[in-house]
């Protein structure tokens, strides 16, 4: 009351808070690693999209004339095959470029499948408590207890080797993370006043689940999904390396490594380059995921 009678306080009011999205962007921009990760991912996406145009050769066609040709800067290399050729004369650079298409596809498809299924299961567990919840969460506990690769191997062993089955196996292995996030979000949100208000207003369960609660767990889901892409790429490559994932002649990076193993002693490039591609891609997604988490999680903000 008296505040108006007295001098108006001129304690400076900070301007209107910045839009959340621009706040997010300025936080994200300040993180060098995250920006670098994003740039690498954009480049990879472009390479994958325009693989047909960019790649100098076919990734599958073999050329009897050029077995194990070294990269162009080494004795015996040529610029026609900038990164050399493999044991049956395929251009490594082209295979790597097409491999990017495959790896990104694996990462995105696996994570999409896993996130959608996991979120639905988590929402169901959180909303319908009781037996349903116990069954779902126990199942997830079991999945988490077994080493991820072992479980994936068992699944692939049953379904049979191949890219599709490997992707399905990795998606199952990743599932528990999303189920847990979604369920935790539901349980913490349903007790809050706005959900109670929506309930009182007569909102149905489905509406509550998807319109009220789901938007509140998108931030952790986005972060976990980004990190999940890197895990998916890594695990699928590991399965490929063990001969259980993508089968030759598909230019999947892990499968390429498996093929190259026996040439460790003779041709360093067939071993080094596909692995480097995996590392850079996985690192980029991890950097991006870390950056997103720091920018999206207000608790971690300074």
């Amino acid at each position: 009351m008296s505040a108006e009678v007295l001098k108006t306080p001129i304690v400076s009011q900070p301007g209107a808070p910045p839009h959340p999205l621009s706040q997010f962007w300025s936080d994200f921009k300040a993180n060098f690693g995250a920006v670098a990760g994003l740039v690498v991912i954009v480049v990879l996406i472009l390479l994958a999209l325009f693989a047909d145009v960019v790649a100098p050769h076919s990734p599958i066609v073999t050329n009897n004339a050029v077995f194990l040709k070294p990269p162009f800067w080494q004795q015996g290399g040529s610029t026609a095959y900038p990164l050399g050729t493999d044991a049956i004369g395929r251009d490594i650079l082209s295979r790597l470029i097409y491999g990017a298409r495959l790896s990104l596809l694996i990462g995105i498809a696996v994570v999409t499948l896993s996130v959608v299924t996991g979120t639905v299961l988590g929402l169901i567990a959180g909303f319908f408590r009781g037996v349903i919840e116990i069954v779902i969460m126990r199942l997830m506990d079991i999945t988490l207890t077994l080493p991820s690769l072992l479980l994936a191997i068992v699944i692939v062993a049953i379904l049979g080797p191949g890219l599709m089955n490997a992707m399905l196996a990795v998606a199952i292995v990743l599932l528990p993370h999303y189920v847990r996030i979604a369920r935790a979000a539901v349980i913490s949100e349903v007790s809050k006043d706005y959900v109670v208000a929506a309930k009182v207003a007569g909102a149905g369960r489905l509406r509550l689940m998807f319109k009220e609660v789901l938007p509140n767990c998108t931030a952790p889901l986005i972060v976990q999904a980004t990190l999940g892409i890197s895990t998916a790429i890594l695990d699928a490559a590991a399965l490929g390396f063990l001969g259980l994932g993508a089968q030759p002649p598909l230019p999947e990076w892990g499968t390429m490594l498996a093929d190259a193993r026996e040439f460790v002693l003779r041709a360093w490039w067939v071993v080094t380059l596909p692995g480097l591609a995996i590392l850079v891609t996985v690192l980029a997604f991890n950097l991006l995921g870390d950056g997103l988490r720091d920018a999206l999680d207000p608790k971690l903000k300074r």
């Binding site: 008296s2 505040a3 009678v5 007295l6 001098k7 306080p9 001129i10 304690v11 400076s12 900070p14």
Partner: protein
């Protein structure tokens, strides 16, 4: 030689808007055995200033002072090791949250003995005897059985007693108590204050009591420094400060006490303490002061001797010429009713 002499102490933290000052030009002089109160709202820099004295300003804060002397020794030129030998021994400090201030992973016996071991070089047996003695002195019943207790097993009041025992373990010459009762139940608050004061009297140690509670200050201290936004606004003997506050801020604080209320609504001070990065150029209290003039909004007053203490104000309340000077500086003459806001 005074026990403690601080001149122009400032503590700065880097931020997005450059360096910001949490403590700004603070002077404190303390004699042996004296009890000084430092009052102010939260964020006024009263705790940070004392942390600077202890060498405990959190990263990445920076401390500067023209003088930072304890018993005539310049704390700023002491080596790390010499300074550590002083902190915890001659100068000790207790904090607001006793339970989080004790390490949850160690027994209180261990944490108490550790101080004695480091500063007095006591062996286990001697330290144990002394710890039991200390726990008795701070009024913890059955001390032997508490030695192996963990902090989470004791109440907040008990933990604060443990903190006090730890602080007085090496007979410090100065004890700094930072809001020692704020986190405790009302019934315990008086007990802890009594304990602090009786220890202070018995040992002739100086005590700095940091609080936001004017009532606590009037009951316990001999001298008070009133802090606002990192600066000392007024520093005077307790009795005269309460009898005739000279700074408008002090007066407003006193008027806001529940005891000062005449049964109607409690008085409040409009506005908020300026944040670290939006300090006005003139008097820091100016934006909330009913007497502020265009001059006060431009020129920041210095801390200067006034009556029986120090003040940082262009127009102290007891100045017979203040109405004329306020008018001369372009301010409007205050209307009496405004002083006690409703």
């Amino acid at each position: 030689m005074p026990l403690l002499e601080i001149k122009n102490l400032s503590v700065e933290f880097p931020s997005q808007h450059g360096m910001v000052r949490a403590v700004d030009g603070v002077d404190i002089m303390l004699e042996r055995g004296e009890v000084l109160g430092i009052v102010g709202e939260s964020g006024s820099g009263k705790s940070v200033g004392m942390l600077a004295l202890m060498g405990l300003v959190p990263y990445p804060g920076r401390v500067r002072a023209d003088k930072l002397q304890f018993e005539g020794r310049d704390l700023q030129t002491l080596s790390e090791r010499e300074r550590r030998a002083l902190t915890g021994k001659d100068v000790a400090m207790i904090f607001q949250e006793p339970t989080t201030s004790l390490n949850p992973s160690f027994t209180i016996g261990y944490q108490l003995a550790e101080t004695l071991h480091v500063h007095e070089g006591m062996d286990r047996k001697a330290a144990r005897r002394r710890v039991i003695e200390l726990l008795e002195q701070v009024g913890i019943p059955a001390p032997e059985s508490r030695l192996s207790a963990y902090p989470h097993q004791l109440s907040g009041g008990m933990n604060q007693r443990v903190m006090i025992a730890m602080a007085i373990a090496c007979n410090p010459k100065l004890l700094i108590a930072d809001e020692p009762t704020t986190a405790l139940d009302v019934t315990i608050q008086a007990q802890i204050l009594d304990l602090l004061l009786s220890l202070q009297r018995d040992r002739g140690m100086a005590l700095i009591l940091i609080t936001h509670n004017m009532g606590v200050v009037s009951d316990t201290t001999e001298r008070v420094a009133v802090m606002y936004a990192g600066q000392i606004m007024e520093q005077r003997p307790t009795q005269s400060l309460f009898a005739s506050p000279q700074h408008p801020y002090t007066a407003a604080l006193l008027a806001a006490r529940p005891e000062a209320s005449d049964g109607g609504r409690l008085a409040t001070i409009p506005g908020v303490v300026p944040g670290l990065s939006d300090r006005p150029p003139g008097c820091l209290f100016g934006p909330r002061c009913i007497y502020a003039t265009p001059l006060a909004d431009k020129v920041r007053p210095d801390l200067r001797p006034w009556m029986d203490g120090l003040i940082r104000c262009h127009y102290p309340l007891g100045d017979p010429t203040r109405d004329e000077r306020i008018a001369a500086d372009g301010g409007s003459a205050p209307i009496p009713e405004r002083e006690t806001t409703s």
